[in-house]
Amino acid sequence: MKPKLILGIIAIVAFTSMLMINFGNSISTYTDFETASEMKAAHVPGVWDSSKDHGFSRETMQFSFYMTDDAGETKKVVYPRPKPNNFEEADRLVVIGEMRNDVFYASEMLMKCPSKYNNADPSEYVKASES
């Protein structure tokens, strides 16, 4: 084989493996509150618990609510922005952030909203900051 070709193959292999390793590190897995306490930027899907307090505090400038994750555990979630537009409508949430002292500090929040008329339709997620 020509040395140039070998060099080229090495470059491609090196590039691809670097890219894949980095890609693998930058994606994470959906999880629950219990394992979230060991992670940074944990993605926790769940449902809003509307029976407990929620609201935006003008003192702390934070929106807080309670969310029940898929394992059935309910935790307080604090989101440092105003209440997203379609929060109440969302039938499912994904909060992204970290767990500290039993409170989940979300830096980003995705909301899955039901389609307008037909509940059988697939829903879609909306980023809280983009809604």
Partner: protein
């Protein structure tokens, strides 16, 4: 309901079916024409292709007619329009849904086909049109809407509500049910930018089909060189359209959505960027193939890939696979399988033909030198491909992420930034070398000396911006250098060209635009700052230093990026502006219930004040009586140096409205129970500034001034004794009173006591107490007892950001567009001259 509406529906379905059939027939004739080089077969094929489009035009006209006549018994009309929609949005509703947007795409492809009939020469003509007809057949199949038992083939835009949801109770009761009104267009999409975005995008999609068809024709007819000439203007045109569409999408997102940027690496955005990158790579290789007869393989491959990626994008956005990770993907219409087959056929046929002919494809006899036009241009193409691969990888995370875990999330934004930045730096440096070598032969020495002055100018500019911008990150410095190098180096080439052959500046102009765009992206994203008052800024600095703890003793990590403003109480933000919230107007016109807020910005250094008018409105499509879904519409003040971007995240008005709605809800629920009247003699404390007037409970209170209290009646140990002059006006009767309540502090047994005896207004059963004084803010607190309304302060919560050099991003984009336009003209002109010579 129009009596003949059902007939129109049937006609619509029929014309689409006919369009599909004629498309398939034209394919057959084109195939035979291509096989046998038969002119007669080609002519018949052209007629069939023409008829195919004609029927699609009729079908589109019928759909537009149904939309304008508000025939809501048709699902498409019901789902995308409503009675109150302005005519321009009724027009755009035609392509607002998936089915209609397929029709628009088909129409543009058809027009492209007519142009090809006129402009393409043998031997490519028949095979090119065959492949175009093939892609048309797939597109039309998406909307034919044939039913075979449970299986449907395509989703017809003419299907009725009864066909869409046969099991819905209102349909079972009355199959001809026609809703009184449609669900309407999403408020966010009611924007002129969104009206023109889809047509421009589909022009790009339709044009990007043509290089694919040419590549396939070249492989079929084994003519691997000449096809790039006619394919180039189409590829350039497709790229210009895609770029314009991406720009419009980004601009819309910036001025309409509340994330305050033009790019978020959202899968749908990425999916539009990647075909553009690969198309651009194809343009590079086609240009050197045309000039020097090299890179035939890569030109073919890029032409195929660019279109495959368009179809892949269509698949991603329309099949529902991205529904979990994207903000704006379509709902699956049951077209998943059809789209998958479309994608597999386009990819399989494309790559299959390519590898089948691979052995006989021309290879370069000798390798190009590194410092040559061929090598540099090819490197440009490879860099674009690498960037494309990175972005595809990130976008495909729902599928490829499965390699890493079972429930993959999308990658972090930093994945895209970390990879695109170094690639962009290398690209920027190479554009200059490439452009120099493209127009003249250099060796290492002569090239270095030619680059001395551009490098010098670049260094000076970089140094100046590093100092002025306070850049500390060496990586950014390198990036800035690369960006300026691209701007300066390519401008140098362009200036020289413009003097001799101004028609040829397309390429260098595009590369200047690329450099400008890079600089704009960095400046606008890294130096984007929230506009905050000094208190919040200090708080944030403390948070970042880890000094703030919450009530549980844990460090607070989230900074505050919002600002609260009270009515007519100016705040200084960023030591630069004095911002005053001046109130809001309620309007019922465009969007019922919309509030337009008024903010006055005064520059502290002087200059004319300016206003920003952000809006908040109830999103009708998703709101109901129990729950209003408030949506924000930011306002942007555009400037050359920086933009100010502002939206209202909350206000006292919205809070009151929400409370009212909640109360109404509870009153309805407990309507049988007697609700005790609110006690009227509750007291409340209101803070007044000197000169401020507050209206509450039918009275207006004006705090005129402080005055020294007469000390003769006060205890001798009084240290402070002041009175507040307050003017009271009863709004209904116009009666006026002046009261002067006292606030005094006296010391007894080394303890301080406050004395603030109440002042009564017996005729209205009110009493007042001067309960606090606050010299710092020049204000007092007055406790009023007996008002039957509590005073709500008018406040707003705003998110404001200063975004430097957004204008540079747009300028870069416009330069790119300008460069593409010049190149299109040049290459199209050349092909036209060739055509007129041969005929």
């Amino acid at each position: 309901m129009l009596e003949f509406a059902p007939v129109i529906g049937i006609m619509g379905k029929l014309t689409i079916t006919l369009s599909f059939l004629f498309c398939v027939i034209s394919m057959v004739f084109y195939f035979r024409a291509a096989q046998a080089d038969n002119e007669r077969q080609l002519k018949i094929g052209n007629w069939m292709f023409g008829l195919q489009g004609l029927f699609m035009v009729i079908a589109s006209a019928l759909l537009v007619f149904l939309i304008f006549k508000h025939q809501f018994q048709f699902y498409y009309v019901f789902n995308y329009t409503s009675l109150d929609l302005a005519p321009k949005y009724l027009w755009s509703a035609f392509y607002g849904g998936q089915e209609g947007s397929f029709m628009l795409w088909i129409l543009f492809s058809w027009i492209a086909g007519i142009c090809l009939m006129k402009w393409t020469r043998a031997p490519y003509k028949a095979p090119v049109l065959f492949f175009l007809a093939l892609t048309q057949a797939f597109l039309i199949s998406m909307i034919v809407g044939w039913r075979f038992g449970d299986f449907t083939f395509g989703a017809s835009p003419f299907r009725t509500l009864a066909e869409e949801m046969p099991n819905a109770p209102f349909i079972q009761a009355n199959p001809d049910f026609m809703p009184a009104d449609g669900t309407g267009l999403n408020d966010l999409l009611k924007s002129p930018w969104m009206m023109i975005h889809p047509p421009i995008l589909f022009v790009g999609f339709a044009m990007m089909t043509i290089p694919y068809c040419f590549a396939m024709a070249a492989l079929w007819k084994r003519k691997y060189n000449e096809w790039v000439g006619p394919a180039l203007p189409w590829t350039l045109g497709a790229n210009l359209s895609l770029l314009t569409a991406i720009f419009l999408g980004g601009y819309w997102a910036y001025v309409t959505l509340s994330f305050g940027g033009f790019w978020a690496w959202d899968p749908v955005e990425n999916a539009s960027l990647v075909p553009w990158l690969i198309g651009t790579a194809g343009i590079h290789t086609m240009i050197i193939q045309r000039k020097s007869s090299v890179a035939q393989k890569s030109s073919l491959l890029f032409a195929i890939l660019a279109y495959v990626l368009i179809v892949y994008e269509t698949f991603l956005t329309r099949s529902g696979v991205l529904a979990d990770s994207s903000v704006h993907s379509f709902v699956d219409l049951g077209l998943y399988n059809q789209l998958l087959i479309f994608m597999l056929v386009v990819t399989g046929v494309g790559l299959g033909m390519f590898f089948w002919r691979y052995k006989e494809l021309p290879s370069p006899e000798k390798e190009s030198k590194i410092l040559s036009r061929e090598f540099m241009t090819f490197t440009g193409a490879v860099l674009l491909l690498i960037l494309g691969v990175v972005i595809i990888l990130g976008t495909s995370s729902p599928i490829l992420g499965l390699l890493f875990n079972e429930n993959p999330t999308p990658p972090e934004i930093s994945f895209y930034n970390d990879w695109s930045m170094p690639i962009a730096i290398i690209m920027a440096l190479f554009t200059v070398l490439g452009q120099y070598l493209f127009w003249k032969k250099y060796d290492a020495e002569t090239l270095a000396s030619a680059l001395i002055y551009p490098t010098l100018v670049t260094s000076l500019l970089t140094l100046a911006s590093v100092i002025l911008g306070g850049v500390k990150n060496p990586y950014y410095m390198l990036y800035i250098f690369a960006g300026f190098f691209a701007v300066v180096g390519n401008s140098w080439v362009m200036a020289r060209l413009a003097m001799k052959q101004p028609k040829l500046i397309g390429g260098s102009l595009t590369h200047v635009g690329f450099g400008v765009l890079l600089l704009g992206v960095l400046a606008s994203s890294v130096y984007n700052r929230p506009l905050l008052d000094a208190n919040t800024q200090n708080y944030n600095a403390a948070v970042l230093a880890g000094e703030v703890v919450d009530e549980m003793g844990f460090p607070v990590s989230q900074t505050v990026e919002m600002l609260e403003l009270k009515l007519n109480e100016p705040k200084v933000i960023n030591n630069q502006y004095l911002v005053t919230y001046e109130g809001y107007d309620l309007t019922q016109q465009n969007r019922p219930g919309q509030q337009t807020y008024r903010f006055k910005f005064e520059t502290i250094e002087g200059g004319k004040p300016f206003y920003l008018y952000p809006e908040v409105y109830p999103m009708l499509a998703t709101s109901n009586a129990q729950n209003v879904n408030w949506s924000v519409d930011p306002d942007v003040r555009t400037g050359i140096m920086s933009d100010i971007y502002l939206y209202v995240a909350g206000s006292s008005y919205i809070e009151r409205r929400n409370n009212q709605i909640e109360e109404q809800g509870t009153i309805q629920n407990v309507s049988d129970v007697d609700i005790p009247a609110q006690p009227a003699d509750s007291s409340q404390s209101i803070e007044f500034k000197r000169g401020q007037t507050i209206e509450v409970g039918g009275f207006s209170f004006n705090f005129i001034n402080f005055m020294q209290a007469d000390t003769t009646n006060l205890p001798s140990n009084t240290s402070i004794g002041i009175r507040a002059q307050i003017e009271i006006k009863h709004a209904a009767s116009g009666e006026e009173f002046l009261i002067e309540p006292l606030f005094a502090v006296f010391t007894e047994n080394e303890q301080s006591f406050v004395m603030s005896p109440p002042v009564n207004l017996p005729s209205y059963d009110l009493s007042f107490q001067f309960s606090k004084v606050n010299p710092q803010t020049d204000s007092i607190e007055l406790t009023i007892t007996g008002l039957d309304e509590t005073y709500d302060e008018e406040w707003v919560l705003i998110v404001a950001e200063k975004k430097p050099f957004i204008s540079v991003v747009w300028t870069g984009t416009f330069l790119l567009m300008g460069g593409f336009t010049v190149s299109i003209y040049r290459h199209w002109r050349r092909e036209k001259d060739k055509n007129s010579k041969t005929t």
